[in-house]
């Protein structure tokens, strides 16, 4: 093959020089990416591969469905609570369990907390270094940095002395040779465009965000009993609230803790609106001419919808984050999504290291099969234990290829904001329009790598303000005398039907997450999870459609072919999380190769 056009409209050409980036750093889990570059170092073909196998489906079979959340919580080092929530929702859906209003408010609050914390950590600690040159910040003038910071935000930590201290601390750290998380940077690459002062401001906020993110998750400790790994419960929440009671070991959540939650919410809103958003705007204003990374954005996007305002009601009018799918860029026609419909969500494996009886067809998750099959195509360079180059015409990833009505879809904050915008909902339309106006950009600028990053920031602000809404909702319900936290009517397996199926869906920080459960004779008969990075990082399908990662990398020029900074920038803009998309090593025990470019 040299040049082909995929059914979803992308032209790929694998004739040029092949470059391998493995592993992609600053993500959770293990992702490999291979690209072909033309003579101008522009990406003409991209191959994204999850190189580890997951196997959650296998381990859950035969277990008590009420325990499934605790296993799901262990599959990822980041969004533990999100998987737990999808799991308890799946079991509740299957068994027809209705949860109390208080439990709904608390779950929404915990989820919004996770969004705010996750987006903040992603922006500063995983993604900022794709835009911010740490080493350049050592050259900044602290006085000029102070002027810049005061010009864009009322945030108090902005004196020349403050920035000088950060600079000194950073210099000491860099000089010690222990660069830690900064070790793998391409410092000095010409694709870095920020002046030293903006770099220093961003680095200072990197450190502040590090201190702040620990505050936010205290909310999970209050309602989940502990952190990491908070407690969840089928039927509601495991915490009891006693507004008037004293604080004691093992005692229910009381007013002291609720006041703590309230003050954390205030500080979260302030940090995101006064630090995160101004930093985002400062970075965007310098990089706004870097318009790469479109891929499926604005084209094929999807959201399952989330944050039911009232309990147990997942219909469109009750969801604060809307549900829908946009296909072929038709923003004026948002389609509805039904996870139960066997013809909508389907997973394909003809390019994945799994086996189906008929690989030309996709399987709905309720009929899903997870049967690993680690074989390499004839054009592979290398061996099973030392792959130099993947053969993308054959099987090449431990990620399956999910499709919605046959379409490859992008999921995540930008997809959610696109759907909210297309539906004309003020919560989404107003901040997007304001941001574009301030930057002097057209709507099309949203459908880029930078747009993905910007949408995540706007969504962090949305989530922080919604934390307040859910907290107030909880308090007014408690004050009205409703203290119910869990519904135990169907806790006992003897009350369950012989065989049932359910779905649990959540909008995770990085996109749409679904758990499909099949319960038979009080045990889990089958369990399938389709996670956000499965959607975005999917390999090709039998029709030849490429997924969001591969599509977004096309046409991007690299400033320096030896330093794939632009590849990291675009892949990071999706906030990939491979821990749950894939897991562990090749089944035959062979460790897959890790070629690190550089």
């Amino acid at each position: 093959m040299t040049t082909i056009t995929t059914p979803n409209g992308f032209t790929i050409d694998n004739s040029g020089k092949r470059m391998v980036v493995d592993p992609i750093t600053r993500i959770e889990g293990h992702l490999r990416c291979e690209v072909n570059l033309d003579q101008n170092n522009v990406i003409r073909n991209a191959v994204s591969s999850g190189t580890m196998w997951r196997g959650l489906e296998v381990i859950l079979k035969g277990r008590d469905p009420r325990d499934a959340w605790a296993f799901c919580e262990r599959i990822c080092g980041v969004c533990t609570g999100i998987h737990a929530l999808a799991s308890v929702r799946a079991v509740e859906d299957a068994l027809g369990i209705k949860i109390p209003e208080n439990a709904n408010s608390i779950r929404n609050l915990m989820e919004a907390t996770q969004w705010a914390q996750d987006h903040l950590v992603h922006f500063y600690h995983l993604h900022a270094l794709d835009w911010v040159d740490i080493v350049s910040s050592l050259k900044a003038d602290p006085r000029a940095t102070s002027d810049l910071a005061q010009n864009i935000s009322p945030w108090p930590n902005s004196s020349p002395g403050y920035f000088r201290d950060v600079q000194t601390k950073l210099k000491k750290f860099v000089d010690s040779g222990q660069l830690g998380p900064f070790m793998n940077g391409y410092w000095g690459n010409p694709a870095y465009l920020l002046p030293p002062e903006a770099n220093l401001m961003a680095v200072s906020h990197y450190l502040e965000a590090l201190d702040f993110q620990r505050e936010i998750v205290k909310i999970h400790t209050v309602f989940g009993g502990k952190n990491p790994h908070p407690n969840w419960l089928v039927g509601g929440m495991a915490c009891a609230i006693n507004v008037d009671g004293p604080l004691a070991a093992g005692a229910p959540v009381n007013m002291v803790q609720l006041n703590l939650v309230s003050s954390i919410i205030d500080r979260t809103i302030a940090f995101i609106d006064q630090v995160y958003i101004p930093d985002l705007m400062a970075i965007a204003s310098v990089y706004k001419t870097w318009t790469y990374g479109r891929g499926l954005a604005g084209q094929n996007v999807m959201s399952y919808g989330d944050f039911p305002l009232h309990a147990n009601e997942f219909s469109e009018h009750n969801l604060l984050m809307p549900r829908g799918a946009i296909v072929d860029g038709k923003l004026d026609a948002v389609l509805d999504v039904d996870l139960r419909d066997p013809s909508q969500v389907q997973e394909f494996v003809n390019h994945s290291w799994y086996r189906y009886p008929d690989e030309a067809a996709g399987l709905h998750p309720w009929a899903g099969i997870t049967d690993p099959d680690f074989v390499l195509g004839p054009a592979t360079v290398g061996t099973k234990t030392d792959i130099k180059q993947l053969d993308e015409d054959a099987k090449y990833s431990f990620i399956k290829a999910p499709r919605w009505r046959g379409h490859a879809m992008e999921v995540g904050p930008l997809s959610r904001f696109t759907i909210g915008y297309a539906k004309g909902i003020a919560d989404f339309k107003e901040p997007v329009d304001k941001m574009l106006t301030d930057l002097g950009l057209p709507i099309d600028a949203l459908f880029t790598t930078l747009g993905r990053t910007a949408a995540r920031g706007l969504e962090a602000s949305w989530a922080a303000h919604k934390m307040r809404l859910f907290f107030d909702q909880l308090m007014s319900n408690l004050r009205a005398g409703d203290l119910a936290m869990v519904n135990t009517e169907k806790w006992e397996p003897a009350t369950w039907p012989k065989e049932v199926k359910g779905i649990g869906h959540v909008e995770a920080p990085r996109g749409s997450l679904g758990h499909w459960i099949h319960i038979k004779d009080q045990k889990i008969e089958a369990y399938q999870a389709v996670v956000p990075t499965t959607w975005n990082g999917s390999p090709r399908d039998p029709s030849g459609n490429i997924g969001a990662f591969e599509a977004a990398l096309l046409h991007t020029p690299l400033a320096d072919a030896a330093q794939p900074l632009e590849i990291l920038r675009t892949l990071h803009s999706f906030d990939p999380c491979l821990a749950c998309a894939t897991h562990v090593l090749a089944q035959d025990g062979g460790e897959l190769v890790r070629i690190q470019v550089r």
């Binding site: 959770e28 196997g55 381990i59 277990r63 605790a70 262990r74 080092g77 222990q178 450190l207 089944q587």
Partner: protein
Amino acid sequence: MRNTAAILGIGNVLWADEGFGVRAVEALHARYCTKDDVEIIDGGTQGLSLLPIVENTEYLLIFDAIDFGLPYGTMKSVFDEDVPRYLTAKKLSLHQTSFQDVLALAQLSGRIPSRMALIGVQPLDLNTYGGSLTTPVAAQIGPAIDLALLYLEDANVKFMPRLKGDEIEPLSPLSVVGVGV
């Protein structure tokens, strides 16, 4: 005021000997109690969210499965500045990448624990998803705890054996605790 000590088990309990660290803290917690200024944490495969725990202690003791290149089941301890070095050089799992970053960030913030100890065990099996600890690795849980108590006594941290019939709040949901050891 920082905590006197934090005892942290890291690893993935769904992944055979990868779960050693978590199983070790669970067993320690089940057998001994201590004072309020000593934290015992099942860190799982968490990354940045462990930073506050690391920054908030004078003495950090870590249990983990480590590739020392020794016969499986061999236990080995490393101390202080060798801890991040071992996690960097002998990496066998994803959680160690992020945990190494956690230690570096604690260094950057100037809040690295003043003393650190890592008690590692050479794993036999890391490939069986859903598997329990292998026999030689499980057999090291008791000795690893004894060693930890010895190190911590040196740092003036005291432990009391739990009495029969003590009600123990589990570190993790029972369904997960029950899987392994």
